[in-house]
Amino acid sequence: MDTVVEARKLSKEYIRDADRVVALKDVDLEISGGEFLALMGPSGSGKSTLLHLIAAMDRPTSGQVLVLGKDPHSLAGRALARWRNVHIGFVFQSFNLIPVLTALENVALPLKLTSLSAKEQMEHATTVLSLVGLGDRLHHFPRQLSGGQEQRVAIARAIVTDPDFILADEPTGNLDAASANEILELLAALNRDHDKTIVMVTHDPHAVRFAKAIRYLEKGALRPAGEQPEDWVDRNISVVSVPSAKNSSEALL
């Protein structure tokens, strides 16, 4: 598999209340095409920061991240915005749907930036919503949907432009166990059946079982591949060897 994301000595520092906070420290990471990578670590370990840098939502303090062989941080303004629209599908922990738009309109939103006609945009959005199992909820507003359904709409919005990557930041963090399972099966199916490269931030040991690979971040530093923190071993949480996603996910797509 080709390397699609390559981070080199990636660092990010913030100034918070006059203090310098190191969020990421010299991170080297390679992600292959078709990968389903879970980024794990405690709160404040830099998982989300790394995801934001890959999605070019934030700029690194030093180092470089190459996505599909190109540094998106070398772009600016409209070109950078366009890059995000074409290459990245982002799934937020709290869904971030626009409350005054229906599920269909929410999913069609990224297509407003494409050359598709209004009719084609609605057709695309309808197809993708059916794909995630919400073909009968097209005209529902977010407040009329359950948390799991809202996250499905958010995933539909993330894949409607057929991006190269799906980046998910704690996608099951606000969901009950059953809904979380459905979302993870959906992501696994998108990876397996549609060959989508997925990077998922999580600290849920159950969630990582759906991923193909796991990397751990601690205090802004990435642990070597295949190595998990000692306290995880103490707690008898084994996630280094990850079984493939359940076959039941096929029913979703």
Binding site: M57, R78, R82, N96, P110, L113
Partner: protein, 124 residues
Amino acid sequence: MAIGSGFATTNTMYAAVAKRSKEIGTLRTLGFSEGSILLSFLTESMLIAVLAGVLGCVLVLPLNWVTSGVGSFVSFSEIAFRFRVGPTTIVSGVIFSVVLGVLGGALPARAAAKKEIIAALREG
């Protein structure tokens, strides 16, 4: 009064920008540019101002042709005023409200467009 209205527009739009911070961050993540965000808030501000202008014109119609006067005990004369709302007044009133909407909404719209994505998402 116009200056006051301009400040009111600015205040309303700053409140809208603060309330919809997360929405702004989400739209930027989806690929909307700073220019799109600026334009959308400016358009919103302008539309609110046009609606306010039209509403003002409608509300003032019952006063059309009402006459009032001011008397002077020095000269024993009276100056009469007749309130007349013609098409020209209505059109210029609405145009003036559009200008106020654009001017009042410009700074908040710029603030919305210039928000850093991560900061916008965290503020929401």
